[in-house]
Amino acid sequence: MLSKGAKLILLSGQFLFKQIFVISPVDKKNGKLKIILRMTPNQASATINERQSFQAEEILRLEGLGKKYGRILAVDNLDLRILKGQVYGLLGLNGSGKTTTLGMILGILQPSRGKYYWFGEPARPTTYKRIGSLLERPSFYPYLSATNNLEIVALTRGVNKIEVEPALQMVDLYKRRNHKVQTFSYGMKQRLALASALLGNPEVLILDEPTNGLDPEGIFEIRNIITGIASKGTTVLMASHLLDEVQKTCTHVAILQKGKKKYSGAVGDLLNGGETLELSANDMQTLERLVMTLPEYSSHKVSNHLLELKMNVKIDAAEVNRFLHQHGLSCSYINIHKQSLEQNFLEILQQSTE
């Protein structure tokens, strides 16, 4: 509680100087108040808004989440934060803990330790009505038609039955709506599962290996659907071991290995981090000597008359070329080579194994 004096300072501050003071608790030693922050009401309001929107944008938070199956540690102390609008890829080899992680955050597997928060609060069954998900394999009653199966999902999610048909149209299963699911191919079941996940326009979409078992055309279709959904601002969390798929679809990525997180961040950062500059010149020895004197030089290797240069900052090819030219060397070949996600992924896994 503020003393009368402190309140007076605050009020006079607001009226006289149009400023808001944030005051520390009374110092016990000298009994004086200390102003620790001073800002205008607009600045304060902006700060509050920023703080509120920052909090509101957090969709999922994992804190030390872990799962043990007997002696096997499937997921170990996983921390992750997913913000609204992100298309987040969970990458990892088979058995790295991707599906287990998704199972826990979807409430069907009991975490052995740690917590997770959906939309800033612990999950309740109603929370999952805001989330569309496709976990591991398409799960339907085989003796029911596509429409009947989606009607059950609609009833569970509290979605109007009218939304079933558009969902079937979106995944191109409308013509087969009255056919039993047991007559569907795996790809069709996968598309039906996607339609089921999309029922009621969920705020978040969780997909576990969505293109598993699909032919190239099916993969292309599913990828287009996911990209379309993500472009509307839906947050997507997708587990996959198909790196190309993640690179093409995701904005952010977390790499798991044996249940542990090895990397998390924007896909762009991961790709830029692996950028190299390929150089070639008549005098390779001088070139090698010169690049080592570059201000942000990191490392290099030479093979087949080609020097691959890595730097600590984002590479500016023109700048490097200018530097070499100033030192009397002309390059016969210069090219920025971006490592694919696959190369980065393998590098990260290799580093952690070492």
Partner: protein, 271 residues
């Protein structure tokens, strides 16, 4: 609450109404039960005739449809066929695990409590349907065979209908528990049949005194006693023709216990 109830009803109805095994088992149950009800009189009459051959004094003709005993007779006989709905319940529940649809419903926002409530609803509605079927059959066959008006059929014996409902609910709840525990239809059916035919008898034999009477299926089975008739009376056998409150309470207790156990199973086990 009402809305949730309707949602569960609709959802479960979609699941079971299109299920071929449900249609076959239900049809088989109805046909067998009706045939038994229709031809039971012939069986009873045969017993009477055979008994009269050796009896000192002839028995009066026994009637399976006598208004005073029709409900006890009908529900007692129906109890022999309760394995049909039990198999159905086991299939419907184990399907949810083998098709992975239980986890799908949980991740779609259904709570574990609602999931169990849905299955309990099926247990109750199926039992109620059977009891209504027995009721309608009793009224029709009773009227045809006795040639009396329907009013005479509404006597205190009609209480055996709700008691049979309790018997069915207890029995099917036990089947539900076994299905949730074992998850696989084949294993669950074998385990349940073995338990109901042999397991409980062994347990009863091993348990001291009359405590075996309080085992779940035994308690459910003894809700409706063997109907008395002239032959049993002559043989010096007299079965109670009343409903025992302690048995009713035991069955109610088991219904609650099985439901709680099912909840604990799916609450703590990964879906």
């Amino acid at each position: 609450m009402k809305e949730k109830f309707l949602v569960l009803m609709k959802s479960e109805w979609i699941k079971i109404s299109h299920y071929r095994s449900f249609q076959i088992l239900t049809l088989a149950y109805i046909v067998i039960l009706m045939l038994v009800y229709i031809f039971a009189q012939r069986f009873v009459t045969n017993i009477t005739i055979q008994s009269n051959d050796t009896a000192i004094a002839p028995f009066a003709r026994l009637s399976f449809y006598h208004p005073q005993s029709i409900w006890q007779n009908f529900t007692y006989v129906a109890a022999y066929f309760k394995i049909f709905p039990a198999l159905l319940i086991i299939l419907l529940i184990t399907n949810e695990f083998s098709f992975f649809t239980m986890r799908q419903q949980l991740i779609s926002g259904m709570s574990r409590k609602d999931f169990i409530a849905g299955k309990l609803l099926v247990v109750f509605m199926l039992s109620l349907g059977i009891v209504l079927l027995i009721g309608v059959a009793g009224f029709i066959l009773g009227t045809i065979h006795q040639g009396t008006n329907n009013i005479s059929l509404i006597n205190k014996g009609i209480w055996f209908l709700p008691i049979h409902l309790l018997e069915l609910v207890t029995y099917l709840s036990c089947a539900m528990l076994v299905a949730f525990m074992l998850r696989r239809s084949g294993i669950a059916i074998i385990a349940f049949v073995l338990y109901s035919l042999i397991g409980e008898r062994i347990l009863k034999f091993l348990m001291p005194g009359d405590s075996g009477d309080y085992l779940p299926l035994n308690a459910a089975g003894s809700l409706i006693p063997l109907p008395n008739n002239e032959i049993t009376t002559l043989m010096g056998l007299s079965f109670r023709n009343t409903i025992e409150i302690s048995t009713v309470a035991t069955c109610l207790f088991y219904c609650c216990l099985f439901t709680v156990l099912v909840y604990l199973i799916i609450r703590w086990r990964d879906a």
